[in-house]
Symmetry: C2
Subunit: 393 residues, 2 copies
């Protein structure tokens, strides 16, 4: 059995970077990956501009009563240069007139006569944003491979990029196996339960900014599994199957993967939950055989499939937002031959508490979890007060 | 000037909870807020079921060679009860036959003759998920007020909720003022710059799962501001204006808010950036006057407007995912009369480093930030090694 890190390395080394790109409207670009650097087409600010409302003048004159020679609104170009004893009234964001080297804040001035003001503040400050101090023409503002988040929108708008070029979303087929399954609309009878992880995987794909392609519940026969997997493979970049990967008589997924010429690169991982996870490739396409238990398929998607989607989209890895917090209780487990993924909640006083968890079919446990922690191979215990890294769910 | 916490309290106390709800498809429900409890319509598991592939038998017989009397696939109902010395082959997820109290894992068995197997594992385990152990009919699975995330999808699917009832998205108008502004498609001339925070606010609204309604750049006249704000107010639950809130001659926002009968509840906050932020109400609708600087408007949206949107949607507050990490360097500031919001990056070795920041027009600083920290009123310094709470951006 390979370790989780080995599994991730195998998956990522198989990925051919997407070269397909598209232009999309700025408002639709959250979560997408930039396919081109965003280069500044201008200096920002494009001129020396005032950071405040006030009076532009020479700092050397700040102690004098000053004549107001012009009113400069934002967006206009000053007509007059500032001479000795002069100032221009100026609005936030407006261009600094020639001759001025500071702006006296309007709050710190008094009108002493018509068109004459005097500074009554503490000490005059510059209050000028210098041409190009934020970015210069030709500078790289955002590198390609960046996953676009809210912080990037203002920058792209400011630099004229209203239609960013991003990589295309990979299409991800979701196939569910299991003759015990019915869709949510149906009331289960006899030995049936409802299909939960198929829908969970669809929204996980949506959340990962890829394109889901739901194939529904596939009958547990070799023929049906072959047909569905073959079609899914021909039309998608990634295929996820859930269920049918264990040791049961009707677990056709491994056989069918082989018959379709999919090269199986691993068929189990030393991880709990998720041990029977399988991974194969064919013509650059990725096939994941995830366990049928919804907690397993949830976690394996987050840990294995999501990084694959991100790499296909050309995303550079970003900072993982991990909370390092103390355990509120002792935690122990009996078997240590697999790395463990433990759903946890964060208490109000910022401690970590494992959620009650009946095993990998226990989807209700995840709803109470704020994140999960990893417990390494060979480790049986985490002690109360020990700091653990909580990854968000 | 009021504090940030006072400002938040004022805003939240003005909110009338939305009673408008709608049914939406499960796949579209991420980020939406449940308007009804999700109640289980069945026991989960709905029957005693096997967690593994193997042989269902009486644990007392586990040391004997056992006769295989039936093959039970997932989804079917067992036809035969297990007697002494008997077992049924059973697939993961299938119903446990009468008489059996454990399942021997297939990996731990050998076939000793046709239809006869023997356990050769260490010690037999139950491997049975008991009827109703995860949830019982009529139990609350997810309370109303929950913001739907990936973890809830499997639960809703499992319980037959393919069309959850959620609260309607509030509509949020975005109005931008500033005669210096042109839209991103235009190359700025003279004293112009491009409108960046209007677009940033639109995507912030999208990210907050509300409905943006972009009104574009409003001319800096009292008449235009009045007309646009009046229309926005009549058609939206929340109106955000940016710019026009300072001390400039053309800052008509406060005047127009008053003329429209909007009750102004505060007009500045002891926060940096974002001091001139204004807030008013009319007929249960909320009006935010945010500063025109994009960093200010970004932060004020996250801190003030987003919680308001969440409360309107009926969202119960959820655990904030905060990373508590040490500062990599000393940080100091000169003025302490406002609470400070400092954009920071997280280094590879999990330390916190403030990003270079020229002031509230410096949108490029935010792109390098992983989160932000707060520095309290009256505090001038944070020392290297001190633990700080980093909130994600």
């Amino acid at each position: 059995m390979i370790t989780l890190n080995q599994a991730i390395d195998i998956i990522l080394s198989e990925i051919q970077l997407s070269t397909k790109t598209e232009k999309i409207p700025l408002w639709n670009s959250l979560g997408r990956v930039l396919a081109e650097d965003i280069i500044s087409d201008m200096n920002m600010p494009p001129f020396d501009k005032t950071a405040v409302d006030g009076y532009a003048c020479r700092m050397i004159d700040a102690s004098k009563a000053l004549e107001v020679i012009e009113i400069i609104s934002a967006g206009s170009v000053p007509k007059k240069a500032i001479g000795m004893g002069q100032c221009s009234k100026i609005m936030t964001g407006a261009m600094i007139p020639k001759g001025a080297d500071c702006v006296l804040m309007v709050e710190d001035t008094v009108e002493v006569a018509k068109d004459r003001i005097r500074f009554n503040g503490d000490k005059p400050k510059s209050n000028i944003c210098i041409l190009g101090e934020d970015i210069k023409t030709g500078d790289q503002a955002i590198p390609k491979g960046t996953t676009i988040s809210n912080q990037h929108i203002a920058i792209m708008a400011a630099l004229g990029c209203s239609q960013p070029v991003v990589t295309k979303k990979p299409s991800v087929a979701v196939l569910v196996t299991g003759d015990e399954l019915v869709e949510p609309e149906v009331m289960p009878q006899g030995g049936q339960i409802r299909n939960s992880n198929g829908h969970q995987l669809v929204t996980q794909v949506i959340n990962a900014n890829a394109e889901p392609n739901y194939f529904g519940i596939i009958k547990d026969t070799e023929e049906d599994t072959y047909k569905a997997l073959s079609e899914a493979l021909s039309k998608n970049d990634i295929v996820i199957l859930t269920g049918g990967v264990s040791m049961g008589d009707y677990d056709y997924v491994p056989t069918v993967m082989q018959k379709l010429g999919i090269q199986i690169l691993f068929d189990s991982i030393a991880i709990q939950p998720g041990k029977p996870t399988k991974f194969g490739v064919k013509n650059g396409k990725l096939v994941f055989g995830l366990p049928g238990n919804p907690v397993s398929s949830y976690m394996q998607f987050e840990i294995l499939v999501k990084p694959a989607i991100q790499k296909i989209m050309g995303a550079k890895s970003s900072t993982e937002f991990i909370a390092r917090l103390p355990m509120s209780t002792n935690f122990s487990r009996k078997k240590v031959e697999r790395q463990g993924l433990i759903p946890v909640a964060i208490t109000n006083d910022k401690k970590v508490i494992p959620v009650e968890f009946h095993g990998s079919a226990h989807i209700f446990a995840l709803a109470k979890a704020d994140g999960y922690i990893m417990i390494p191979l060979g480790v049986a215990e985490i002690k109360e007060g020990e700091l653990v890294d909580v990854r968000p769910l």
